[in-house]
Symmetry: C2
Subunit: 222 residues, 2 copies
């Protein structure tokens, strides 16, 4: 715990995926700020993390204030909110590493891949934030209800981004959350993992599975 | 071997993926016709299958004649040839099950997902063949050089198509080739597996892996 770690803001940290990741990072010793549209809800979510893990610090703020306060900003919001929330926090992101987790699910047919015009949610994010943004996408395929439990989640985390050093940082975050992070290549490749979430939703239904995931094989000891 | 099985035409069956699949299906007892642009090359490839597996019947014909002769037509050609070859054999496909294996790799950046205008190679195939075609896509992620060997290939085969019964037939073909076929949902979902091939190519390079693959987890005994 004496090691200096980056501070993390989880935008949409009251949602299932965001809260589960925030809790795992707080337990791993990261300073975590929960962001939400209203500070009150963010504070409640942060308090629940403290209860679960003892005295680990977690605070709750509005999305904008959370983004301003942290070194790394993880965006865990529904696709329908992605554009509005990225736009709202964009003034706080200069130079920071942004981790977008958005999967472009379009209800009611969430088991059907329906990519946005930009090609993927990650490329939509880049269109909103601009080419100079330090943007990485990840955490598309992990089942939030499994992450919420203290169990091993049998799913790899593919990490996409045009800067390998930034991808490294997010691979490290995946590992810190008890997952296996794997470099998935440039941001343009995010379409693979984003579309795969619809595939997994369909598999859960067809095979009566409780949170199907993906594993990369053939890596040896990696 | 007394069981009646569908006859299979492998279009592009002189290529690495096509030939490896044809060999495995012939060994599983299927009647296999190898298609190529020239009948001579197809005959040579068919002869190599007979040599490898004893007296199993395999024949070689032009792509058009091979498609005409079989119940199920597997298309295993490079992306750059997909449109020309599908157009050439389209007159022979009425009512037949078509299995497109095309991955839209665009050299030299094959580790970067570059989806065609239609959204995926599978949707390109549908645009060429028409809505009434019995079209399924599969076998995007298996490494051909592993399939060519008599080893277990540690990679699932996602099967996409709008007709579940046709997907069932292709899941069965994957199983017959010693792989695990899994329903991946509608043809629109093919983008996930197609883009994933670029991800795997990048992973092979970065992690010095010899044919990384994917496995679906959480299916239990499925």
């Amino acid at each position: 715990m004496s090691e200096i770690r980056s501070s993390l803001a989880v935008i949409g940290g009251t949602g299932n995926l965001g809260h589960a990741l925030a809790r795992r990072w707080a337990q791993a010793g990261y300073e975590v700020v929960i962001g939400s549209r209203t500070a009150g809800k963010a504070e409640d979510a942060a308090a629940r993390i403290e209860t679960a893990s003892g005295s680990v610090p977690a605070t709750g703020l509005t999305n904008e204030d959370a983004a301003a306060k942290a070194d790394i900003v993880i965006v865990a919001v529904p696709f329908s909110s992605q554009e509005a929330i990225l736009t709202a926090i964009s003034g706080e992101l200069a130079g920071k590493l942004i981790v977008d987790t958005t999967v472009p699910l379009v209800p009611p047919k969430v088991a059907r891949a329906q990519m946005p015009t930009a090609g993927s949610a990650a490329l939509s994010a880049r269109a909103i934030l601009g080419e100079e943004a330090r943007l990485v996408s990840a955490f598309h395929n992990v089942a939030a209800h499994k992450l919420q439990q203290d169990i091993e989640v049998d799913c790899d985390v593919l990490v996409f981004g045009d800067n390998p050093a930034d991808r490294d940082s997010v691979v490290e975050l995946a590992d810190a959350a008890g997952l296996r992070g794997i470099h998935g290549g440039p941001l343009a490749n995010s379409v693979a993992a984003e579309a795969f979430t619809s595939v997994l939703i369909g598999i859960n239904k067809r095979y009566k599975a409780d949170g199907a995931g993906i594993r990369i094989t053939g890596l040896g000891g990696a």
